[in-house]
Amino acid sequence: MTRIISISGLSKTYASGFQALKDINLDIHRGEIFALLGPNGAGKTTLISIICGIVTPSQGTITVDGHDIVRDYRHTRGLIGLVPQELSTDMFETPWATVSFSRGLFGKARDPAVVERVLKDLSLWDKRDQRIMTLSGGMKRRVLIAKALAHEPKILFLDEPTAGVDVELRKEMWALVRGLREQGVTIILTTHYIEEAEEMADRVGVVSKGELIVVEDKARLMKKLGKKELTLHLASPLAAIPEALATRGLTLNGDGSRLVFTYDRQAERTGITALLSDLSAAGIRFTDLDTSESTLEDIFVGLVRSAP
């Protein structure tokens, strides 16, 4: 797997003195879909803006396709398309004009066929001659995507592409993103929706308070998701886990009134039956039981909460 973006030692302190990013190190692989997760104000947009050249880094270096983003900005920016978080469009222009403008701005020769294809891919063809201000919010977002795709970028940044977008359009966007990936486009998207990261991403990075706290394969994260917990509410609290059950990997919670057993849902033998018979052999009675599974959401919330 080759790297297409390499970020090392990146920090950003805004003029206000606020440090939005702290020593970020991250590689993005060619052709992958990478999801950046993080709560409001984590620094996702700042990170993207620096790579695209909109915000100047305070420290660190970034290379895109092996070229430094400051020294070789022409090369690196030419490869990148950006769909910003804010719906900033030329309200008085038409989709056709604004998409053609984007293509020219990125140094590509005029090519009405490409503009037409992009507009059609985003179901904007019928609206091509309407003023953008007469379009709905979802359509405006698609105009921004069309602009980002007008110069046929190799890397696409989507900053919260599905915020405020209805279910149907969200599905459409996911399909579009997959289609682009099939054409070899590397995609980096930010989102608040865990489900979106689960659905789309090959890898997930979690940003919190300016720090990149986890970067992991989605599959591996999903494995963690496969874990389930069985909680037994005991009739009488235990001071400690009895000797006979020591090997079962139990934890004692709630002042000794709850026993928690973690098991792999997908495993052939979960060990629940054996545990229950051991319990009755040890004379431990319980009044209730429940099971729960940890979601990416839990992992995410836990990570963000425990971050410094």
Partner: protein, 253 residues
């Protein structure tokens, strides 16, 4: 050089202007006509000629300069302020374009508009009075140089401004008074000596004087001085623009 980008910005800006073409053409035609009715007819009856040039004809170069100056500044500042205001500037900043290309696109379009405007005013004026252009080459050179310098100056204002009021402040408080006091409607020799000296510190005097010379061969100050003044101003604006892009001032966080 990303010529496609320069072209894209330039054409985009020209297209925006084209949509309001009627306004853009009608209002200068109307205001020029009014100037001739008021100044030409009313004052011209009392001042028959200045430096051997009939008063109506004498004010034509100054009138053109007045409009070209204000229009250049407003076009130049609005062109860059508007995308900053709406947020669409993100695209220009993330595009593979150099500062020079951005300036060429925006300032080039702003200057083109005001040059066209200047020529429209000239044509309108010719309907009222007899206008001669003694040195057409220098006339055009002054026009282009002025339009370019002040569009660039406007561009800098558009980057500096952080609100629509600020956009108006410099043109209103500085440029318009200087233009009116810059010998647009009179010859400096008509002023008391003290005010003649003060006028020498008004850069617009050099512009109007040089421009008028290209029409009628009469000038308040030397033609070389005029050229040097406008060229110097242009270079100064270029340096400031270069500094802005180098530091990211008000463009990048």
């Amino acid at each position: 050089m990303n010529l496609a980008a320069v072209r894209a910005i330039y054409l985009f800006e020209m297209a925006r202007w084209g949509r309001t073409l009627m306004q853009s053409v009608l209002s200068p035609v109307l205001s020029t006509s009014l100037y001739f009715v008021v100044f030409g007819a009313a004052i011209g009856r009392r001042i028959s000629e200045i430096d051997g040039v009939p008063y109506g004809a004498f004010i034509v170069p100054g009138l053109i300069m007045l409009s070209v100056l204000t229009e250049s500044i407003s076009n130049g500042s609005f062109g860059i302020y508007f995308p900053r205001f709406t947020g669409t500037i993100y695209e220009v900043l993330s595009a593979p374009v150099s500062p020079l290309e951005i300036v060429l696109g925006y300032v080039g379009a702003a200057a083109t508009k005001s040059i066209i405007l200047g020529l429209i005013i000239l044509a309108t004026a010719a309907l009222f009075v007899e206008v001669r252009v003694l040195h057409p080459f220098w006339m055009l050179s002054f026009l282009v140089l002025t339009a370019a310098s002040f569009s660039l100056f406007g561009f800098l204002i558009g980057i500096w401004a952080d609100g629509f009021e600020r956009l108006q402040v410099i043109p209103m408080l500085v440029v318009t008074p200087l233009t009116f006091l810059g010998g647009t409607f009179y010859s400096l020799s008509m002023l008391p000596p003290f005010w003649q000296t003060v006028s020498m510190f008004n850069p617009i005097v050099y512009l109007v004087s040089g421009f008028r010379w290209s029409f009628y061969g009469v000038a308040d100050v030397g033609i070389a001085t005029s050229l040097a003044a406008i060229a110097g101003f242009f270079v100064l604006c270029l340096v400031v623009a270069w500094w802005i892009f180098r530091t990211g001032y008000r463009l990048k966080a």
